[in-house]
């Protein structure tokens, strides 16, 4: 392959700006080689450098609480859970690859996030995913949904980690640009954690795992631009996953880390060898001398440029003392994996890349990385026009429904509310035998921690319609709801990871949404005492039509201290009393009711985070005192859908009547105002609950009873058989997907 002429035009083709190209010239004091230009272009891509987001990300609370490393410092966050154990967890996007190649895009998204976890020495114990597609009536959406789910399943099932929770939303705004966010959670003993660092002159640099091919070249750059008609041509930028090799890599990696043979280790995700050599060197303030001739290749005649930029999956870079080389090799040999020494650590801050006797690149590592020489931009912001129309919308102009039963049926059949077991059953949710409850059966998934009395509870959340209508409050709601879901399972919220999916940051309206959402997350996390351990930013989520709704997905980690605290939404016994905690205000802003029944997306959702904190604390106290039979967060579809779900899961009925209120009946039954929780309690505990609420200034209303008659009765408005509701709720998505292809 002939080396092209290095100039600004080429730099721009690789995604760099003129300003950035000039910066490279001045940093190097010479024209870069082709390989060097490739290295700068991927390292300074949005995906690797966070150049348009890092300044704002630094305003998030990123330390404190139970955090063992500050947010963003390692491959994943690390949270202390006692008993000498820590939890590593992180969420990451794989949106663009999944848009053009849903199966491999989603599969490698799972593979990538798993490596982030076990590269820290942690054994992955749970996978979650947050998925967003266009309207489910669309044939292309069905295709994407089907193959994204299959990709997640085939990778996670073979890898042997249970996929336990997540969320799936459908909205026209994701039509051209679906979102696939994968989250993983792992457990590690404090003494066995590993770090992504290169240090110690003359220590060895080793590449382990799969061989390197031409797949995924410039994947990071592809992830840093908008999706267009040309995106189909980028299909070769999508990597191909091999969960079998990853499973072997997991076992071998944990074995070498546990044996203490490792100085540092980093997985190879975006920008492959480039990113791992540069980041590990920069972190250790060291350098590396790398001989690419030693890298095991799967294709012939690869250039240095291609080897450096390949995103072939299931590879790791590790640094070790020379005396451990043979021991490490024998462990990887046992697992039939490549393990080759490709260079050594130096102390001059330079990463020097040799290939076929030539110096292909010689660059100061620090100039390439986030926090070092990578550019940092704060972009212009402007409040979007649309808010002028959506914010003041008067919902009282909407006609009242004639038949509330029909409305409830339609809401339960809305793909955003209907049960997603069609997808969840394609995931092995039980392997590792720790899964107590999982997605589609409870507000958050519960995972037993073997060898202790504790359980983890995890959930992802984000109603992006709320964020679209009010980015600051919508982001606060995403954090609050994920915490509320964890509380409803009996867990104390500990920390979050976030995946910030937005449009093109060079558009001031998009950047305004981003800035507002960050401020919302920061405020909610401060008050709820759940620091941000890290995560991922995905910009350029736009198709030719428009940007997606701003979607800051929150992954929440909670801890349940005792089996007695495990709580689920299902009604348990007829005769139990049903209580609503929180206050009804009849807010239809961004509600599923307004969208599904009236085709309106308007209003301005709101939340009082200080009150939310009080509510959650009070709920945990009720659980700790053994007062709760069931607990369920009220979310999409409002209180009527919330009650229906408690009945459907519990296979019991209920009769509910609300106190006189001036609220319109549809506002009351389908409003989605925040900070409301449905509980059921034994009659003898009713007074204790009331007292607790009064002491803690939590509004409560005793609204009814659980019944054996299998009917949901709410006032004069709703009366439906549970079996019929179950049929709608459980089978709608399965029926839609049966017709798919």
């Amino acid at each position: 392959m002939k080396t092209p002429i290095i100039n600004l035009q080429l730099a721009q083709q690789l995604g760099l700006t003129e300003e950035e190209y000039n910066k490279i010239l001045s940093l190097l004091q010479r024209t870069p080689t082709y390989t060097e230009l490739g290295i700068y272009s991927v390292m300074w891509s949005e995906h690797c450098s966070y150049k348009n987001s890092i300044a704002l990300l630094k305003t998030l609370p990123r330390s404190g609480g139970k955090l063992l490393v500050s947010g963003g410092e390692e491959n994943a966050g690390l949270v202390d859970i006692g008993d000498g154990l820590a939890v590593a967890f992180k969420i990451e996007s794989h949106n663009h690859p999944s848009a053009v190649e849903p199966y491999q895009g989603a599969a490698t998204g799972v593979g990538g996030i798993m490596r982030d976890i076990f590269t820290m020495g942690a054994r992955p114990v749970a996978a979650l995913n947050s998925l967003r597609f266009g309207s489910l009536t669309d044939a292309r959406t069905k295709h994407l949904f089907k193959y994204v789910v299959k990709g997640i399943g085939d990778y996670g099932n073979s890898f042997g980690v249970p996929t336990v929770a997540g969320e799936i939303y459908f909205d026209e705004c994701y039509q051209g640009n679906p979102l696939v966010n994968a989250m993983a959670v792992g457990i590690v003993e404090h003494k066995n954690t590993a770090s992504a660092i290169a240090r110690g002159k003359n220590n060895l640099v080793m590449i382990v795992g799969s061989s390197t091919g031409r797949d995924g070249i410039h994947g990071a750059t592809f992830a840093s631009e908008e999706i267009s008609e040309k995106s189909e041509a980028k299909r070769p930028s999508v990597q191909v996953g091999d969960p079998f090799t990853e499973k072997l890599l997991l076992e071998a990696t944990l074995e070498v880390i546990k044996a203490g043979y490792i100085v540092g280790i980093q997985d190879m995700g975006a920008a492959g060898i480039t990113c791992s050599t540069m980041e590990m060197s920069a972190k250790g303030k060291s350098g590396m001398l790398i001989d690419l001739d030693k890298v095991p290749l799967r294709e012939e005649n690869m250039t240095a440029y291609e080897i450096m930029l390949s995103e072939s999956q299931e590879r790791m870079l590790l640094v070790a003392k020379p005396e451990h080389e043979q021991k490490i090799k024998s462990i990887f040999d046992k697992w039939d994996l490549h393990c080759v020494t490709i260079g050594k650590v130096t102390d001059d801050g330079i990463v020097k890349i040799m290939y076929q006797g030539r110096v292909e690149a010689e660059v100061p590592a620090e100039t390439l990385v986030l926090g070092g020489g990578a550019p940092v931009y704060i972009r212009e912001t402007k409040e979007p026009e649309y808010l002028q129309h959506t914010r003041p919308f008067d919902f009282s102009q909407l006609p009242q429904p004639k038949n509330f039963n029909t409305v409830l049926e339609k809401l339960l059949a809305s793909p955003n509310i209907a049960n997603k077991h069609w997808a969840y059953e394609q995931y092995d949710s039980m392997v590792q035998t720790n899964t107590i409850t999982q997605a589609g059966k409870s507000d958050s998934a519960i995972i037993k921690i073997k060898g202790t009395k504790k359980y983890l509870t995890v959930k992802t959340d984000c109603n992006s319609r709320y964020v679209y209508l009010n980015p600051h409050k919508g982001a606060e709601i995403a954090v609050a709801e994920s915490a509320r879901n964890v509380v409803c399972s009996g867990g104390k919220p500990l920390a979050i990871t976030n995946c910030l999916n937005f449009g093109n940051p060079y558009k001031p309206e998009i950047y305004w949404q981003f800035k507002e959402a960050i401020a919302g997350i920061a405020n909610a996390c401060n008050i709820l005492e759940t620091p941000v351990t890290g995560g991922n930013v995905s910009f350029y989520n736009e198709s030719p039509n428009a940007a997606v709704y701003p979607t800051p997905t929150i992954g929440m980690l909670g801890l349940i201290e005792d089996a007695k605290h495990i709580t689920t939404p299902a009604f348990k016994n007829a005769g139990d009393e049903i209580i609503l905690l929180g206050k009804n205000t009849g807010d239809l802003s961004g509600s599923e009711y307004a969208k599904v029944i009236h085709n309106i997306v308007a209003g301005s959702p709101t939340i009082d985070i200080e009150f939310e904190k009080k509510l959650q604390t009070c709920c945990l106290e009720m659980i700790y005192n053994g007062l709760i039979q069931s607990m369920h967060d009220i979310s999409e579809g409002g209180i009527s859908v919330g009650l229906a779900e408690c009945c459907i899961f519990g296979n019991l009925g209920c009769t509910v009547n609300f106190a006189e209120t001036s609220l319109r009946k549809d506002f009351l039954l389908f409003g989605e105002e925040q900070s409301r929780i449905l509980i059921s309690v034994k009659p003898e505990n009713l007074n204790t609950i009331k007292n607790l609420c009064e002491e803690n200034l939590i509004p409560y209303e005793h609204i009814g009873k659980v019944t054996t008659t299998k009917e949901l009765i709410i006032g004069k408005e709703i009366q439906k058989g549970i079996e019929q509701l179950q049929d709608i709720y459980m089978n709608t998505i399965t029926n839609i997907m049966k017709q798919a292809l």
């Binding site: 399943g153 099932n157 091999d242 079998f244 392997v431 035998t433 107590i436």
Partner: protein
Amino acid sequence: MSKIKFGIVVFPGSNCDADAYNAIINDMQQEAVYLWHKETSLQNSDVIILPGGFSYGDYLRTGAIAKFSSIMNEVIRFAKSGGTVLGICNGFQILLETGLLPGAMLRNTSLQFSCKFVHLKVENTNTRFSSTCSHNEILKIPIAHGEGNYYTDTATLQELEEHQQILFRYCDSHGEVNEESNPNGSLLNIAGIINKEGNILGMMPHPERTTNEELGSTDGKKIFLSLIET
């Protein structure tokens, strides 16, 4: 009573090996050892478990490569001399590939991987795998597979029935064996079969996932208990 020693084979890609180990040690209070696929000793195990997972990535065909492992020569020898072998999920697929059990697996009729609790009817209690079950007892045990659609020719099927080799059939919670209770399309709702001699069981559902109350059922214990008490 002295403890029974279970040998759990670990292929590259096995991922239910640790679950089986944990069930045997912690819930069944018996002995267990891992048997690495490159080894040739069964370490005097009383029962061999071929665990679930994706041995060798299930590339080529489920279970097809595993049968060439060094350890499998010993497992086959052990089984042919009457030793007890339990193949779970991928283990069942491997037993079919080695010919220790007759038949083959097709993809689930849904063409989808399926993980959920199902019900099984115990059709023969006169075996070392089911002696603690009652006749026609209904067990609640989960499945997790993409290829559990058991198939064989009519003559073999007849033979399986004649010799009471069909140990478990998928049924509903009331014990009805019908198309609706069949999660993968297997012939005659077959969930598990034994060989004629009765020392080898292959089953798609995962008993090691139901040895602890917290996980939603303890019915898997009955299978291990049968092996321990026999």
